[in-house]
Symmetry: C2
């Protein structure tokens, strides 16, 4: 058992950096968590639907922490035109994120049907932009659709888009099921898949009655978690880390009243690299850490690690606990995943 | 559409009346909710494992509200002997409740294997006592068992017990799945099944991120809820109400911290008859109300309605909301299911 692990240029290919005060707290946590690339989600209020918005947002993030490479995305909506895709590409925007309507945080403007966006996808394919899919259908009791099968029920959309746009790079985000893993594997090299840290740790039992483990997609069965672990263990190059680190003010995560559900999201940024090392080691995949947190994602996105950057050194530790909370303003906080629990690794200062 | 419905002697064949201060608050809610029979669960601290304990508990409940018929149960544990079964029967104890270890509130002393209890079951069969099964197996990630399939995975135990003790009356409590409904249907007339009010209302989507809807067994898929509704609609005589009304102090239901999960349980007692009427009407089964909340259960348990008791009159209402909470001591409360929502029926005073 090694006591030190060196990781070159960790890249988080799915992260929520929010806006306002919350953004000032969580954006520096990308580097604190060990990462120097953040693929930034566009589901702000209002959503990032234009190149100009994305560039302004990027500037804001750079003003908070200039030491991270921010890859920007647009929110798929009727505002998005093929001409805007061309403009976005010219300005360094990397991808477009699709949210089915109403399934997660700030997705009220999400899409209901993909056909209307075919001209946009065609232009994206031509320009080499990436389509990032939140792969869930909305719940519909009449069709027995709920949070448990929302992802599996979405997969035919993935197949249809891939068949229609075989050269379009598509990422199925935050896969949580064996069905999704098998689906992505069965696609061609233009289809990849992100896996979060927390979905390697938890199952439905962990968010049953515990809102701080509640996120979308929800964690599923133990066998689904096993499929996520297995595909990392086998080193499949189209499966890589996207943390979906999604901070919320703590008061919106607790369920102190019986009215609305709490906000969906698990916050892993400040502990991300150590957490992933801890988890991969727990199922014998520590030797895949470099590929999973950097190599595979960087290759798919064609974003090689920068030269001359020192690797991040993780050292084995005992008795080191995850912070219980990060202050947010005077009377709120952001609570990280596994708050107060021990991790087996930490970044050497 | 009738504006009044009369129901004779509603009987709740599964309710938690707790102990101490909480019991003083919730026990009177049996009658307030429209019921004059309560089949009382034994999972206190310590559990009710002897006839003497059960009789003392019954006296306590009667001192709180003497207007309800309390049917008492014992907690299946190694303390329970065939001799104790005989004594229990002589003293009017009706059933024995089995909890798999660790699956719900105060089940740490639950059973792990049934074979050891065969002599007890044999005596119960002889004496005509009822075996009440909490039909879930404990979670076990290595076998892909979790809260979602814990009930379906339990069903072979039901079949085995029924085959070994065909004359023993068995109730599969609080069924939540189509698999459980089908299983009970396939058994002989000695096997019945309770259904709660809340499982007729909610699915997994309702407790995802909302701890006040979290209970064990957890609500499952929409199709499972449909199976529960359907078996009531068809008037199957071995399926009847057991509310599993399970009050907890509100502070133990909210998830204000990221450590332990909240308490499992949904509290329906104070609104029970109106709630069940509301729900049955929502799927066209209001005409089954009398059988579901009284006739079928009373027949299975051989507890005919008392003569000369006035029926409960439900009247159709608009704009009447469920109480948001019931005070518990100086600084806590008990929060009912659907707090603050409107019901279409209420009991006429």
């Amino acid at each position: 058992m090694a006591d030190f692990v060196e990781i070159k240029s960790p890249a988080d290919f799915h992260v929520h950096l929010r806006q306002g005060e919350l953004s000032k707290v969580v954006t520096p946590h990308v580097r604190k968590g060990g990462f120097d690339l953040a693929y930034v989600m566009p589901n702000l209020k209002p959503p990032i639907t234009t190149t100009d918005q994305a560039l302004a947002y990027k500037k804001t993030l750079e003003s908070i922490d200039g030491g991270v490479e921010y890859l920007m995305t647009l929110y798929l909506s009727p505002d998005l035109t093929p001409a805007e895709i061309t403009k976005a590409k010219k300005n360094g925007i990397v991808g477009v994120k699709s949210y089915p309507r109403g399934v997660t945080t700030n997705s009220e403007g999400g899409i209901e049907s993909y056909e209307a966006y075919y001209p946009v996808f065609e232009q994206m394919e031509k320009e080499g932009m990436v389509l990032n899919l939140h792969g869930e259908v909305p719940s519909d009791a009449a069709n027995n659709t709920c949070v448990l099968n929302a992802e599996a029920t979405f997969l035919p959309h993935l197949f249809k888009l891939h068949a229609r746009f075989p050269k379009l790079r598509i990422v199925l985000e935050h896969a949580t099921t064996r069905a999704a893993v098998d689906a992505v594997k069965s696609c061609g090299d233009t289809v990849a898949c992100t896996i979060t840290a927390h979905h390697l740790a938890i199952t439905v039992d962990d968010w049953a009655g515990q809102s701080f483990n509640f996120c979308k997609p929800v964690a599923k069965y133990p066998d689904d978690r096993q499929a996520l672990r297995q595909v990392i263990l086998e080193g499949h190059p189209r499966f890589f880390l996207g943390s979906d680190s999604a901070p919320h003010p703590a008061h919106t995560k607790s369920t102190a009243t019986p009215t609305d559900p709490c906000a969906a999201g698990v916050y892993t940024s400040p502990i991300l690299l150590a957490l992933v090392a801890h988890l991969l080691e727990s199922f014998g995949a520590l030797h895949r850490l470099q590929d999973f947190v950097s190599g595979f994602g960087r290759r798919f996105y064609d974003r090689p690690a920068r030269h001359g950057v020192s690797p991040i050194v993780l050292k084995r530790v005992k008795g080191v606990k995850i912070e219980s909370k990060w202050p947010l303003g005077d009377d709120d906080s952001v609570i990280p995943f596994w708050a107060g629990r021990e991790l087996g690794w930490e970044i050497e200062a």
